[in-house]
Structure formats: C-alpha cells, structure tokens
Assembly symmetry: C2
Homo-oligomer: 464 residues x 2
C-alpha cells in the first residue's frame, strides 16, 4: 500500500509518550489513526506511582515536539537542569555542568503531564481515535489485525487495519508476535541489570519550594549503587535509588527492616534523610522493579507492521535518553513516510536506518551507569571534563563536542551511533594524552584541540 | 547438595557431543548419570544428512578428550588441515597456514563418528544410563525434574533428579524453561545471520582418494558469500555454501532453477563443478538452514540446574570452535566440581567464570565470517599474516601468538576472552604500523616484535 494513500487504515497499539506523539503527527499529515491503549485514560484516572515519575527531556526530544508544534507548550512543563550536583558521603556537593556552552541543559519533566498534553493535542484531531482500557491480547502480523479485550462490552474483538504500528512499550505484544513468527529471522535480546530501582520522594517545603538546589540533576554516587534526584514543578523531588538485588555490599534483598533501612541511609545518604520524614514508609511501600535492555531486528514484519520506541529498543535510564530516542523515532519515521513510496519500504528503511542508533544509545546508557556511580573516582576523568568545558566554551560546535554533548545537544544529523563512536574515541584520546603527559588542563586551546583531534582519529581507527 | 556426594542423582538432557562427553567424565569421577536423548541411537539408526557432517577439532577440544583418555582414539578419526587453501574465481589457489609453528594444525572429523565413539566409551561405564528416543517436553527447574515422552510405552513420564545438566543443544528445552521462569533475571538473546548454509558433497575418486588437496580447509571467498570444503576419511569432501537468503547479489531465494544453479556455480565456483556430477540434484535436495548465536546468563537456575555447550552458547561455525568450546566446558566444569563444596556453587562458579569466554568466541566466530569471505581483499592483511608467520616461527609461544593461534592453539590457561582481546589488539597494532610505514614485512625480527608489543599495549588501553 502506498504512503500517499491517506485512506490507509492505521492502527497504533499504545497511547504512551511515543504512541500519542506518533498518532498526533500522522493526523497532522492527513491520515486517520486509531489507537488502542490498555490503560485507563490518565486524564480521568489516577496513575500508578513508583515508576518513572519524571524524565529527562533534551534536544532530540524537543526537536520532535517542535515538529508537531508543541515545543513551547512543553517548555512550560520543564525544569531546566544545568548539570549534575554530586553529593559525597560527607554531604559536600560538587557541580558539574552538562556543557561548556550557554543554553545547553536538560529538562526534568513529569511523564504524566507530558503524556496528558500529547493526548489532549491528539484529541483535537478528528482523525485520531483513542480507545482506552482496551488491551491487545493477540496480533496477526500477516493481516495487520489484532484481538483486543473491549472493556465496554467485556468481550474480545478483532481490529483489522492496513498497517500496524506497535508503540506498546518494553513489554510490546507486537514484538512478542514477531518473536513467535517463524517465517522470518527475528533476532532479539533481553538483558537484565543485576540492579533494580526504587523511587522515593522529597516533599516540597511548606511554601511549595525545593528543599535542595532546583536546577540540577542530583547524584549521590557510591560505587556499586547510587541515588539520584530530579526536581518537579510542585517543589518536590523524585529520588531514585539504583542498587543490586543481591550480592556483597548493600542490596535490596538485604535491606528490609526499619533499622536496616535507617542504617543504610544514615551510612550513605545522610544529607537526604532530613528531607524525608517518612523515608522508611516510602522505602517499604514502593516496589523495586528491574531494569533491562530490549534489542531486536528487524523492527518490521510482513510488510504490514512496525515497532517503534521502547517496543523496539527499551533501554536503561542512565543517559536520560529513553523518551528522547522514542520521540526521535517519530521524526525519523516521518521522513521515511515522505521519502518512500510504500509503507513496506518506509518500514524497512526506518528499521535499517534507525537500528544502529538505537543500539548505540542502549550501549551508552549502560556505560553511563558506571560513570554516574563512580563519577568522583577517577581524577583524570575530572581533568578530562575540565578540558572539554574549556573547548566547548571556546570553539563552535562543529569544532568540538564532548560525548555527552554529541548525544544530548547534537548538531542536526548526528545520530546516536556517530555520537557514540566519536565520543568514546575522544574520551579515550584525552585520557591517553593526560596519562602520558602529552597535554595538561591549562594548555593553550588550539594546541589542545589539535592534539585531541589527531589522537581521536587514531583511536577511531584502532577501535574500528 | 554436596559435590562429594557420589549418590547425587544426575540427569543430563541430550547425548550429543557435549552430553556424552560430560556423562563419560562424570562416570569416571564416580557419579551415576542418566541421560535422556530425543533422537534414536545413531549407532543403530541412519543419521540425517545435510547438517554439519564434519567439524573442526583443535587443541581445546583435544585437551578435553585427553582428560577422558580418548585423545589417541579420536586422532585416528582425524584428518589434519594445515591451513586454508584459498581458491580465487579464476581457479588459482593460495595456501595460508594456520600457524608459523610446526605441529599446529586443526582436524577435520565426522560429527557422527566422534559422537558414536563417545557413546561407546560412556556405555562402558555401568553408571551411565542413556535412554534414546526420549524427548524432554517440560522441565521443572525448582525440583530438577523433567517430563519426557517415553517412546517404549508411548506415554509421558516424570524424571526426578537431584541436579539437571542441560546439554540439549541450541534449541535447549532447559534454557527455554529458564526463559519462562520469572523468579530470577534471565538475560538471553537469539541473533540470526542473514546468511544460511547448504551442504554439498564432492565424492571420492574411484579408488577412494581425495579429488582436491586433502590436508587443507578449502575456501572460495567471494565477498558477500563463500564456499568451504573439509575432507572426510572416505575421500569425499563436505562442501558448505554460506550465502544470504535475500538481497542484492547471489541469494538462496534467487537461485532455484537448474539453470540458475548452474549459472551461479559456473560464475563463482567453476573449479568445483567438475568434481560434482550431481551438483544440481544435491543443491535442490539439501536444505538451507539458518545460522544463529545464542547467548544467555546466568546458566544456572534454582541451584538445581546448569546448561552447558550449545544450550548455553550456540555460535556460528566460522572459527571452527563450536565443538571445542563445548568440550572445554566439560574441562572447566570438571574443575568446578573439584573446587566447590556444593553443586549450586559449582554451577554458579562455572556460569560466572565461563560466560566471558563463551561471549568472546561467539564474537570471534562472527568476525571470522567476514575475514573468511574477504580474505584476499586487504593487501595489508596478507602482509600481517606474513609477519605473524615469521614471528611464530622465530619466537616461543609465550613471546608471540597470532589471534588465530591464541584461539586455536592456546597455551594452557588462555581463555577465549583473553585470546580475543589480545588478538584483536595485535591485529590492529600490526595493521596500524604497516599503514603508517613504521614496520615492513622483512624488518629484523626483534625490532618487529618489540614495536608490535608496544603498540599492542597501547591499543589494549585505547580499546578497553
């Protein structure tokens, strides 16, 4: 079927962040879109707590929101975070900016508020039909049809579409259908971290203000585990403790009693306790879900179906890029629709083009967990950051961007894969030059830049 | 349960190469072992053709066979292959030895003959009980019990053991049970190549001799696809064509008619045709199975079960290490039994220790497909091999081993991971030094070795 055929019957499974943005964009392009969502309408019902309450929104995600005309509205929901604020065990703090350039920061945003906005905007289009409380139970990829439980009638129903877009998240039913199907070679992996996470909350002050510095992503790095905090608009912070389930040292399975919980926080996060009167209650009440990476290929089957967002590439949260990657999917797919004659070709092009970038951000996110947990450990790492700040302040983006900037504040057209390859090579090059005394932090800038560029090219070759 | 308890009820699923060697070894250690095998006894029934008829046996596999006292018997089934014999499109051939050292070669061996020998040897122990035609249909990991279809009675039966060792191959039922179980985080992946394979056969001459050079692994590298040949004891060769299923250029799905098959071989493998009178018939009769890599972690569940061999780490065949890796598993597990007090600890230690090596050989095998397909393309690659041959001829193993040698002819204690990291770094170092004119092939040997060592250390640091 042709992409120019505006009568194409499009079914999207999942009205989360990716599905609602995708539905909105397709409606803007003149298509009619039906969306099935298993959860109730979050604009009417209470949303579960304890699971990724806030997210980091940065340039890649904002570019997608700009595409649908929502950048300004979304900015109103954002709290800028200019860098990391690192808390050591003694309670000292150290700021580390995300970029040496002005105006480059990431944003803390509520998943729920952003999703509601996207649903509201999608609802403005008559050509978007969202059905909530309708759980997809089976998928027939060949026929682009799904079976779903229709909550209104309490019966199973069929939905036959022309094309099926699966934005149904990390546990995607569409992806599972691809795994089951034997008539094509579907590669897939599910990798779990030995660490889980637990959300906690620092309440606002009595007058609705923030109890710790507002415009930072706070990190309490402790080697094998860490605590982070992101600010919310109401003055609260969402804390997330990332820790192994089992093993030597602190672990979820060893910290259960009131005393164990108190001792643990007293030992490692003393400066946090004063801000959370009901710490023990929160700790015991909230779940400790697991963290995994989903990869698969291809993302399309039978010329009828495509998976996007977490359904195709769920990643761990340590680069703050999960939502951004899903939103960027919509931008890339939007281009593929315009540049391919048939939906089948658009699906194939999207899967082929986008897969290396999805793999790269998955790897980067895993690496960053180690970097965040250990971020005060390596002295040369601190010197490297100082050098990169100097270079970013002094030179244009095209001349120098750190790995973090390449990933988070990219020039147009730089995908995650390019950012990863170049960024990792730069990191190794700078650390090597420091280690061997070939550069120092206060060297003249042109000389620094040129030495780093030469060594980076060599490292790229040697790592390739 | 303690490893010293010789009354431990041990159930092995699968009496293939890994399962039969494992059963034999455990009996030698004084345990009683039951093995369930879904296939008929290959010593009595005809074995399916068209699927990996012969294999490459090298030092890691031979070390395991030595452990059970079978090295000499197995050597009688072997045909040494001293190197690759590369066939270009014009029919010219070029030999490339596997090592610069004497006595380092790999061996072509029949999977069936080797498996039969292992079964015969296992059968000599009263404490090994092998039941054929008994397909395991369900596994209860918690209780170390399995349900299997008992072919004698035509009914499903239960088998309750103390520990369960899954050596049931790439499609392992035990691994699938681990995937299904939700009470631990089981990471797993299945990655398919876009290429499948098809086996063909060059018959012996009328007097039972080999029609092409006997003591080589023959390769017809053609970029995106390749043909290889391994010698058999009866004078025949098993050919394997590795080729993509779909896409531009030659592909299984585009080569179907008699004429297409003839044209394809005439264009790319002209020097093979004369040796195979019934080429078209063979091509059409034999299947073209797919090639995949299985990874997972951990390899143990519920303190009762462990998977080994292909069940835990099925790899693509391009390094000739699949069987060797499985046999080496038995050696490593044998040590774990001796050095751990409980079976649960032995399982955990084995899984933790062995997993990085299994991942490494999986990666190396994937890389080697590209190297084999393209092996005449890069001129510096040829120069690198010449340098490595000179170094291997001149220096002791501890001084220099190529990546291939580290993998295939290792000094005791060098695992696949170490071989991969060091071998890849050496390759990059030599290619870099050649590219930049820092070394030439005929340089003085001590100087070559020292420059390569220094650069290799740098590359290891920069790639780490």
């Amino acid at each position: 079927m042709k992409t120019t055929n505006k009568k194409t019957k499009i079914l999207i499974t999942g009205a989360g962040l990716c599905g609602s943005l995708l539905g909105l964009r397709l409606a803007q392009k003149g298509y009619h879109v039906d969306i099935l969502e298993k959860r109730p309408d979050m604009r009417k019902a209470v949303v579960d707590g304890g699971r990724s309450i806030n997210l980091a929104l940065s340039d890649r995600g904002l570019a997608a929101l700009k595409l649908v005309g929502l950048e300004d509205k979304v900015r109103e929901l954002c709290i800028p975070m200019n860098g990391r604020l690192i808390h050591d065990v003694e309670g000292n703090t150290f700021a580390s900016n995300y970029s040496g350039r002005d105006g480059e920061y990431i944003n803390s945003i509520s998943r729920e508020e952003l999703n509601k906005l996207l649903l509201d905007e999608a609802d403005k289009y008559e050509d978007v039909q969202i059905d909530f409380d309708d759980k997809v139970t089976a998928v027939d990829l060949k026929n682009a049809s799904v079976t779903y439980y229709d909550s209104e009638t309490g019966t199973d129903k069929e939905w036959k579409a022309d094309i099926l877009l699966g934005t149904d998240g990390a546990g995607s039913v569409v992806r599972k259908a691809m795994m089951k199907q034997r008539d094509f070679l579907f590669s897939h992996s599910m990798n779990w971290l030995p660490h889980g996470y637990k959300e906690l909350s620092i309440p606002p002050t009595a007058d609705g203000k923030w109890r710790i510095e507002k415009n930072f992503l706070h990190i309490w790095p402790r080697g094998g585990f860490m605590l982070i905090a992101l600010p919310n608009l109401d003055g609260s912070f969402t804390l997330t403790l990332f820790m192994q389930y089992d093993g030597d040292g602190p672990a979820f399975n060893n910290i259960n009693t009131d005393q164990e919980i108190k001792d643990f926080f007293n030992t490692y996060f003393k400066d946090v306790i004063e801000h959370i009167p009901d710490l023990v209650e929160q700790y015991k009440a909230n779940p400790s879900p697991s963290l995994g990476t989903v990869r698969c290929s291809p993302w399309t089957a039978n010329s009828t179906s495509l998976i996007l967002g977490d359904a195709a590439h769920a990643i761990v949260p340590f680069y703050g890029q999960g939502m951004n990657a899903s939103f960027e999917d919509v931008v890339v797919f939007d281009e593929m629709i315009d540049t391919n004659e048939t939906w089948a070709d658009a699906f194939k092009s999207f899967s082929t083009t986008r897969k290396p970038d999805a793999d790269a951000i998955a790897d980067l996110a895993l690496d960053n967990f180690v970097e965040m947990r250990d971020s005060v450990a390596n002295p040369n790492f601190q010197l490297k950051r100082q050098i990169e700040m100097r270079l970013e302040s002094a030179f244009a983006k095209a001349e120098y961007q750190s790995k973090y900037s390449l990933v988070t504040f990219p020039e147009k057209g730089i995908g995650y894969e390019e950012a990863m390859l170049k960024g990792r090579a730069q990191d190794k090059a700078i650390l090597w030059l420091l280690e061997n005394g070939d550069i120092t932090v206060n060297d003249e800038l042109d000389s620094l830049l040129s030495k780093i560029k030469v060594k980076t090219e060599e490292v790229l070759w040697l790592r390739g």
